[in-house]
């Protein structure tokens, strides 16, 4: 009996001691894990929101630079209209000396930025290299109670810059769209959530979907601002506050909070999620102790509870990552340009197949002016949402820079400087950027560490190895070397990313440049869409069921025979019909037009021009003569700025009436319609476009 008592007492003591130890260790582990998750959450939240605002403001500033053109004085009204259109609070044009010479705010006019300690950093923009400068939110100069953020973009060559300002009130209107996704889709543990509220009023901007409509302010949600203020911080990209406890939506939560751009962001993790597991296991431990398996059970319990916690954490992480990847892929695909415009000088095709874990490939192409077309392929290092957001930034920067500088190499100088100046994640990208001169076939290009494209020239495919410099965002102050090649009519160029050449088969062999060249050689003629399809099919066949490791991007361009198109404008007088006839005859004869077409084209010209001259009320009209080769035909386009009039909308006159019954008129258009191979009419930009094609068939 005595021994039993001793055993029982010993067991009881042992039980108490071990329970206390288990409780302490469990509590410590749970706190550590909670803290780590909250840390991860607030850093991600801050970086994503700040990144989105920077990207948005950068785009606004560069758009303003394009619209304003150069540092010149402009009226208050025009600047105000511009600010309204860009949905921004402040727009200032600053000249090279640092003086504000145009603004939507009369108080800003003539203010000197140079020498002002707050504004001085913007003066970097006049060095001709730096393209944009961003400042964090800081108290507004005339209304220190409010904070505002400024970002400026330079005019080409550093000849002054445009500064745009965003204040917290406007940010409130923009934030819900940025936050909607984060708050609804990001996971924080299993039951955690995020809140964002106006820092001054506490009004909630966005509620987590689970608690929607439960509260309209932070205090209604249960947030005790007085306690929280001891733990929260004003976010500066380095400090994210410390964990504190709040009762939110009736539940005890572990929280982190930071203030950014006039808003308070809170990440909250309910306590029960982490501590319920600990409590359950502690009880189980008690039972096991009574069975004198205490030590073993305790050990097993700790192992299993840790494993469980880790499993839960990783499951949550994986869910979040899957959603991030989906968003990243959406961003990546949405950033791609639409189909290239119909252009008789060239054809372009491009495609991108994102890998399962998304990389940062993208391509772009756009018209610079009537005779230049830009196209590019790029590959951002890294994967997932960060790479996708970085890709968006890079894409916007490159496009803006090419539109401003026109030379790919000069554009990359600026893009590189810009990317280097703000690259906390140490990302980089390779890019091949070309601008095709539609008249000469000259492609001026710059290659920033990208795979060499392949060119089809003189009937042969060969790689174009010329480099201009290293990958973008690696090293500041790089000057990229301008390069060029010339494409004759019928020549082609094929760009791709390393997802093509580094595709792996089951024996881990690379697809490689030789296989790529062979695939290209098989495509005759080298039509862009066929080139893209054939290469993608070749890579898929090579991988033979292996998972695609990286994004695969292809872009092909082929220069076509230059179109023979001639335009001339005429005043709307009877004499112009003779002049237009002469113009048509001259072009028909220069281009060896088949004689059978001459009378038909002359009649058509006569009918349409006399209609325009007599009835349209146009101030001018234009005749375009274009020679098409397949099938051989002549296309006449008549453009006038007169009253909207669709000649095809008229009923045909009755051609069976006798000479006496017949009214005069209405025949001209009938003749045009009957004699032409095809006719069409469109009204756009306040002008009538009437097009007639006559083929020699």
């Amino acid at each position: 009996m005595k021994r039993r008592l001793i055993i029982a007492a010993t067991m009881l003591v042992l039980y108490a001691v071990l329970m206390a130890v288990a409780w302490t260790i469990g509590t410590e582990k749970a706190a550590e894990s909670t803290n780590a998750q909250l840390d991860y959450a607030v850093i991600d939240l801050h970086d994503t929101v700040a990144g989105a605002i920077d990207t948005m403001l950068g785009h606004v500033a560069r758009t303003a630079v394009r619209h304003i053109g150069s540092a010149k004085p402009m009226s208050l009204e025009r600047m105000a209209a511009g600010a309204k259109e860009l949905d921004i609070d402040e727009v200032n044009t600053v000249d090279r000396s640092g003086r504000i010479i145009a603004s939507n705010d009369p108080h800003c006019l003539n203010v000197m930025m140079a020498g002002d300690p707050v504004m001085e950093p913007f003066m970097k923009l006049t060095n001709g290299v730096t393209a944009t400068v961003s400042q964090p939110f800081r108290p507004h100069a005339r209304n220190p109670a409010m904070r505002a953020k400024y970002l400026a973009a330079a005019f080409p060559g550093g000849d002054g810059f445009v500064q745009v300002g965003l204040d917290e009130r406007r940010l409130s209107r923009m934030l819900p769209s940025i936050l909607g996704y984060i708050f609804d889709e990001w996971l924080l543990g299993r039951t955690g959530f995020f809140l964002c509220a106006d820092a001054a009023t506490g009004k909630l901007i966005s509620n987590p979907s689970r608690h929607r409509d439960e509260a309209s302010t932070l205090s209604e949600a249960g947030y005790d601002a007085a306690t929280a203020s001891r733990y929260e911080v004003v976010a500066d990209g380095r400090h994210y506050g410390t964990t504190f406890v709040q009762r939110l939506f009736g539940e005890k939560c572990y929280c982190r909070a930071f203030v950014f751009g006039g808003h308070r962001f809170v990440a909250a993790l309910p306590e029960r999620e982490f501590y319920s597991a600990r409590n359950t296991y502690a009880s189980v431990l008690g039972v096991l102790l009574f069975l004198v398996l205490a030590a073993f059970a305790w050990f097993a319990d700790r192992v299993s509870s840790d494993a469980e916690r880790l499993r839960a954490f990783y499951a949550a992480e994986e869910g979040r990552r899957a959603k991030d990847l989906l968003l990243a892929e959406t961003i990546q695909m949405a950033a791609l340009p639409g189909s290239p415009p119909e252009n008789p000088c060239f054809r372009l095709a491009a495609a991108m197949a994102p890998a399962r874990s998304v990389g940062g490939d993208f391509y772009d192409h756009f018209q610079l002016d009537a005779t230049h077309y830009a196209f590019l392929v790029a590959d951002v290092s890294g994967k997932g949402i960060t790479a996708a957001l970085y890709m968006m930034t890079a894409k916007t920067l490159i496009k803006d820079a090419i539109l401003a500088f026109r030379s790919p190499a000069a554009a990359l100088d600026v893009v590189n400087a810009e990317l280097c100046s703000n690259n906390p994640a140490n990302m980089f990208l390779t890019a091949w950027v070309g601008v095709l001169n539609l008249e000469t076939g000259e492609v001026s290009f710059a290659n920033a560490g990208h795979n060499p494209p392949s060119a089809f020239r003189n009937g042969e495919w060969a790689y174009v190895p010329a480099m201009s410099g290293p990958a973008l965002a690696l090293m500041d102050g790089i000057t990229y070397t301008p390069r060029q090649i010339t494409l004759a009519e019928g020549d082609a160029l094929f760009l791709y990313t390393d997802g093509v050449t580094e595709a792996l088969d089951s024996s881990k062999t690379f697809f490689g440049e030789e296989r790529l060249l062979n695939a290209l050689k098989a495509v005759k003629p080298p039509e862009p869409s066929s080139l893209c399809n054939v290469v993608r099919a070749a890579v898929t066949a090579f991988e033979a069921g292996e998972a695609q490791a990286d994004d695969i991007t292809v872009l092909a361009l082929r220069r076509l025979a230059a179109p023979r198109i001639y335009s001339r404008a005429f005043p709307p007088s009877i004499d112009s019909i003779a002049a237009a006839t002469e113009f048509l005859d001259e072009k028909l004869s220069e281009n060896d037009c088949p004689p059978a077409l001459l009378p038909v084209l002359n009649v058509i010209l006569d009918e349409v021009c006399s209609n325009i001259v007599k009835h349209s009320g146009a101030s001018t009209f234009e005749v375009d003569v274009e020679f098409l080769s397949n099938p051989p035909s002549v296309k006449l386009t008549f453009v006038d700025d007169g009253a909207a009039y669709n000649p095809l909308s008229h009923e045909d006159p009755d051609t069976t009436l006798s000479a006496e019954e017949r009214p005069i008129g209405g025949l001209g258009i009938l003749m045009v319609k009957k004699m032409a191979t095809s006719v069409s009419y469109v009204r756009k930009h306040g002008r009538n476009f009437f097009t007639v094609v006559k083929s020699n068939a």
């Binding site: 006569d606 069976t656 025949l667």
Partner: protein, 99 residues
């Protein structure tokens, strides 16, 4: 535009050369108007005409009506394929007397 005009009593022949379009039709119209009152048989020799636009058709229609009113006739001769095509499209083939 050159228009050769040959008048022999009540018979007249007009031979326009080149294009009969918005610019040149007024000249042909004037040549028709200048024909003496007594002409009742008009021949339009189109052997030298390149083409006829609707403005030219208008003049042909006017000349046809004038001859009809005067109880006379108008004949169009030496029609090339391009002009024949225009006549067919517009139904003028059935209005005009084409020889």
């Amino acid at each position: 535009m050159t228009i050769r005009s040959q008048i022999d009593g009540n018979k007249a022949t007009l031979s326009p050369e080149g294009r009969i379009d918005t610019i040149t039709s007024p000249e042909l119209e004037e040549a028709v108007a200048k024909l003496p009152e007594g002409v009742t048989s008009l021949t339009l020799d189109l052997s030298q005409a390149d083409y006829v636009s609707s403005a030219g058709l208008r003049v042909l229609l006017g000349a046809q009506k004038r001859m009809g009113t005067a109880g006379g006739t108008m004949t169009v001769t030496n029609v090339c394929e391009a002009v024949r095509n225009v006549f067919d499209i517009t139904g003028f083939s059935s209005i005009l007397t084409i020889a």
